[in-house]
Symmetry: D2
Subunit: 126 residues, 4 copies
Amino acid sequence: MINMDEKTSISELKEKVKKFCEARDWDQFHNAKDLAIAIITESSELLEHFRFKSEKEVDEMFKNPKKRDEISEEMADVFYFLLRLAQKYDVDLASELIKKLEKNEKRYSLEKARGNNKKYDEYKND
Amino acid sequence: MINMDEKTSISELKEKVKKFCEARDWDQFHNAKDLAIAIITESSELLEHFRFKSEKEVDEMFKNPKKRDEISEEMADVFYFLLRLAQKYDVDLASELIKKLEKNEKRYSLEKARGNNKKYDEYKND
Amino acid sequence: MINMDEKTSISELKEKVKKFCEARDWDQFHNAKDLAIAIITESSELLEHFRFKSEKEVDEMFKNPKKRDEISEEMADVFYFLLRLAQKYDVDLASELIKKLEKNEKRYSLEKARGNNKKYDEYKND
Amino acid sequence: MINMDEKTSISELKEKVKKFCEARDWDQFHNAKDLAIAIITESSELLEHFRFKSEKEVDEMFKNPKKRDEISEEMADVFYFLLRLAQKYDVDLASELIKKLEKNEKRYSLEKARGNNKKYDEYKND
């Protein structure tokens, strides 16, 4: 395995995903609608691990190396399709994330959001 | 806005997400099960943009700056919760992605996969 | 197989689902949150059949008896958990459906909605 | 409101959904792929109510009439698109449900499944 880690940039990962897909001539299938379908179906496979499980059971899963690997692989699948969508439609995921965090800094002010599990549009009911 | 871009590493992004969430004392709500729920509900908001739309209509959305921003923001939301899950449970998204690409290199050999929209487990039916 | 068909009422189906689950002592796991997770993960298995497939390929699936059975089974899975949620929390699915159709009669007036794939909240942009 | 209730049969509900959609000339948009997308996006709106909420908070939602109505409406939305898919592709939801319950009677034998939250394919690991 090539030595890569968390220091890898998003653009390097996008490039790898692009090469993988283009070598297989998959551009013809990878339109935004089908990639969004792929993202949600992979998210569902991730969630399915936790269905009908208690919080305690879920935490134990992460301590079991085999189970942990399975869950991590589902996360990679979601990430793969998200990167592919970003690459095909030229969306800068890092900038978009930062932009969203800045927007949420306002929506979820420290004063209102600390220790609170409400969505920002539920604050008005307080 | 801080000057960040696609060159940003995943570990830097994870760090930002961590700081955002910890400042709000959200560790108590951010267990794996609820984060997986968050990932799928945000994926659904992304997909909803394309519901009942033709491939041509979807491609036009990306040319409309306002619509493009809305879609990019949904992608950021999926990414945010994926990073948060990875950060909380110490999953190295970059390594996991590379591992999965390597696994898929074998499952989707160039010979079988080129120009083919089948899932690897459908090949056996050929 | 018991002779049942589309003439069966929802309350009869709910009763069957209830008996099946209670015989297995599953009330303890079947809270609303986990049942909603079950509904979405089964919906995802339904959708997965159509991932990366063209409209023509999807229509052909319904002509293939084996594939048609697989798809119908996924629909049954969604229905099963929806009935179970309705039964456990005493929601009258038939009345709720009628109520929603009446609400949508107004939102999607014949004049605006005919031959139109927009969501009601997009009309304002016309 | 027309007086209907749980005694209503599935075929009557399907007929109502059919009339509603055909009056709006929506057959052209309601292919299986887009209806499956609709089912999952509505399932997600249902699930979103429970995101980051504890089991106790979820149970309290059903005691709050306004919240209960909102949740029931999301359930109706899932049901509406499931009925529409069944109607368009001639799937008999009641028979399919019964068939699936019979299949699961075997998969989840009383002996193995009672009080157990495992999926049938996890039993082998016992």
